[in-house]
């Protein structure tokens, strides 16, 4: 079923991962590896568990009342759910971009500077300025906002807000960036810009993206995992999955027979 798991090169690795919300089991025994320096797309119909899996990687599920996790999930071989691992440290290494752009109602500068500031990544103001400028540059937003860094982050357009959120995530210099349907609230032009950005970020970061759009998965990802009803049905190279899937379920979903 899981035809392609790169041995030893996995950045994030799940083995027998079960997730329960109260009595309801959201994920059934997931075995999935995510390779470093690649974009991995998680696809599947609504409620299939792909977002749940994503939120396990930086333990955002901790915030959900009654969520339980069993099995192992490792980042660089270290257990993410280890009691000794501080979740703050984990989230500094695994950044996240949410479905709806959620900039803080503060200035654009403050939005980006917040992460480095709470983690103490900059020694002085000049260093902080540099981190902010670099992050905005990498997020392809610097040219648009350079002259108005003190304006509110919420005054930007939807697409700009989402790129600001990406800049905010990059500013902490994470190793993995999780994206939960980052373009679902954006128009096609803004979507194209974000996709372009994801492609550029691939060189420096491991990216996991949940998407409803199969075209998007095909455009931005190198590997694709297909979830259905809380189970991982198939994972493989994106091209293979979209052209020659092994499982009839995958075939049905990508050809639009259900989903």
């Amino acid at each position: 079923m899981n035809q392609y798991i790169p041995k030893g090169t996995a950045k994030v690795s799940a083995r027998g991962l079960d997730v329960f919300y109260g009595d309801k089991q959201a994920l059934h025994h997931i075995d999935l590896d995510i390779a470093a320096g690649e974009v991995t797309a998680l696809i599947g119909p609504s409620g299939c568990g792909k977002s749940t899996f994503l939120r396990c990687i930086n333990r955002m599920n901790d915030l959900v009342e009654g969520a339980r996790v069993s099995g192992t999930l490792t980042l660089d071989g270290n257990d993410i759910h280890d009691r000794r691992l501080d979740v703050v440290q984990l989230r500094a290494r695994v950044g996240m971009v949410f479905q709806k752009p959620n900039p803080f109602p503060k200035s654009i500068y403050e939005n980006v500077a917040y992460g480095p500031r709470i983690h103490g990544l900059a020694r002085d103001r000049a260093e902080l300025d540099e981190i902010v400028m670099n992050s905005l540059e990498k997020a392809g937003l610097l040219a648009e906002v350079e002259s108005r860094l003190s304006e509110s982050g919420t005054s930007l357009s939807g697409g700009q807000q989402q790129r600001l959120c990406i800049a905010r995530a990059i500013a902490v210099n994470p190793e993995v960036i999780l994206m939960d349907e980052p373009c679902s609230a954006l128009d096609p032009i803004a979507t194209a810009k974000v996709e372009e950005l994801i492609d550029e970020l691939r060189d420096n970061y491991t990216i996991v993206i949940v998407t409803h759009s199969m075209q998007q998965a095909a455009r931005v990802s190198q590997r694709t995992a297909f979830f259905h009803l809380g189970k991982l049905i198939e994972v493989g190279g994106t091209e293979e999955i979209f052209t020659n899937p092994c499982e009839p379920l995958t075939q049905g979903y990508i050809t639009g027979r259900f989903g």
Binding site: N58, M60, E65, F98, N102, P103, I118, A169, V172
Partner: protein, 440 residues
């Protein structure tokens, strides 16, 4: 197939026409219902505005009279012999000097024809017992005026004040007349010579309570209210905000927190007099704190406002979108950092509004304060939260209970002052909300 098509096609037009008809008939009914609902709504608004208008008009028309006060112009000779101080000018002597004597002497000089003891008593009854107080203040401010003669407006008695304002009769022979014919003649003479006038009543805002309506002021009650509310705010705001933040952001959701939540909501509905009894039992009887003190009043008012502030605070925290919390958490902010850096600043306007409304509620509380003895008659302006004091609503209650006619307008005036403070607090709440409201 063709039969079916024909059968359904023919009546289709008729059916459509009938359906349009049905909808049109219902449409008329729907519009009528909507118009009725609007009429009822407007009616309800009109009725409540009318009630409010009547109330305000009644209070304002009664109370504005108290802003003015009748005074009599007399040439007062500051004669050290009459003042009974001789050559002494030290503070104690000046304080203890006979200022009533000065007033009587000035009155006698104004009406030299009055000779008999009984007539003099009637004449002096036109002035307030406290008319000399103003002279004491003048002398204490500047002792050099001793030996000179100054024209001074002295406070008239409450009966004369009421008569001049037309609240009590002043025609000879009228029912309820409180003046003799001689007094009426003197009043007429003073008026004709321009020595009787209504002037702004400064005492209302600069004096403490008094048994004499013309001398009674609100300053004691205003200061008492300020001390009480200060104590309330100091206790309520930190505890209320901390409780709201803990319950909303940190506390696990289990049976205990549910129980606490239910109890807080219930506390908000407990009659305030019960809190007064609690204050009496705990603060006065157990801890032995002083009676009638703003400190205890503030503590009791804090108990009353706390549930309101906690509930408002939790509502303000709930209104902060979860996406903001997720954004901060996703960056690796700790729970406390998320709350202090993002959630609390966004919830602050709502919390402040809730606090001010809770304080406004506390400002208007009377019953619990009666329980802890803040209903005493207190003349002195309190200098600190441990001094005995009245508060504004209690002052309204005390004055409304006084038999003198002059206290009727005073009561309304006190209500106006209370309403002004309440409005100012509500305005502050609106201003804060507008100023700190942020969009996301």
């Amino acid at each position: 197939m063709t039969d079916m098509a024909e059968i359904t096609a023919a009546p289709a037009a008729a059916q459509a026409a009938a359906r349009t008809d049905v909808i049109a008939r219902r449409l008329a009914r729907r519009h009528a219902a909507e118009r009725r609902f609007r009429a009822i709504g407007i009616g309800a608004v009109v009725v409540s505005v009318a009630f409010l208008g009547t109330l305000l008009f009644n209070i304002l028309s009664n109370g504005f009279g108290a802003l003015l006060q009748t005074r009599i112009l007399l040439d007062v000779a500051f004669d050290p012999a009459v003042m009974d101080i001789g050559e002494r000018r030290d503070a104690d002597s000046l304080a203890a000097a006979d200022y009533g004597g000065l007033v009587k002497a000035a009155m006698a000089a104004r009406f030299p024809e009055v000779a008999s003891r009984g007539e003099k008593r009637e004449l002096n009854a036109l002035l307030s017992n406290g008319a000399g107080d103003a002279l004491r203040r003048m002398v204490q401010d500047d002792p050099r005026i001793i030996g000179t003669t100054r024209p001074i407006w002295l406070i008239a008695s409450s009966d004369l004040d009421m008569a001049v304002k037309g609240i009590m009769p002043r025609q000879a022979g009228a029912e309820g007349l409180r003046f003799s014919e001689r007094q009426l003649a003197w009043i007429g003479k003073l008026e004709a010579e321009g020595a009787l006038a209504r002037q702004f009543n400064t005492r209302l805002f600069t004096a403490g309570d008094s048994r004499e309506p013309e001398l009674a002021g609100l300053l004691g009650a205003i200061v008492g209210s300020a001390f009480s509310l200060g104590i309330t705010l100091l206790i309520c705001f930190p505890i209320g905000v901390a409780t709201a933040v803990y319950l909303e952001e940190f506390a696990p959701k289990n049976r205990w927190t549910d129980l606490i939540e239910v109890n807080i909501n219930n506390l908000a509905a407990v009659p305030s007099v019960v809190f007064g009894l609690l204050g009496l039992a705990i603060f006065l009887n157990t801890f032995g704190l002083p009676r009638s003190a703003p400190l205890v009043g503030g503590l009791v008012l804090a108990l009353i406002s706390l549930p309101t502030i906690i509930i408002a605070g939790r509502a303000a925290l709930k209104a902060v979108p979860p996406s903001i919390r997720q954004a901060a958490m996703g960056l690796g902010a700790s729970k406390l950092q998320t709350v202090t850096d993002h959630v609390l600043p966004l919830a602050m306007p709502g919390m402040l509004t809730g606090t001010i409304l809770g304080m406004a509620h506390a400002l208007g509380e009377t019953a619990p304060l009666l329980m802890i003895g803040m209903v005493a008659f207190i003349v002195d302006i309190p200098a600190g939260p441990l001094d005995p004091a009245a508060v504004l609503p209690v002052q309204v209650y005390l004055w409304s209970d006084s038999p003198e006619r002059g206290f009727v307008e005073k009561t309304s005036a006190a209500i106006i002052v209370l309403l002004v403070f309440l409005s100012l607090m509500n305005l502050a709440a609106i201003w804060l909300r507008k100023k700190f409201e942020r969009r996301w």
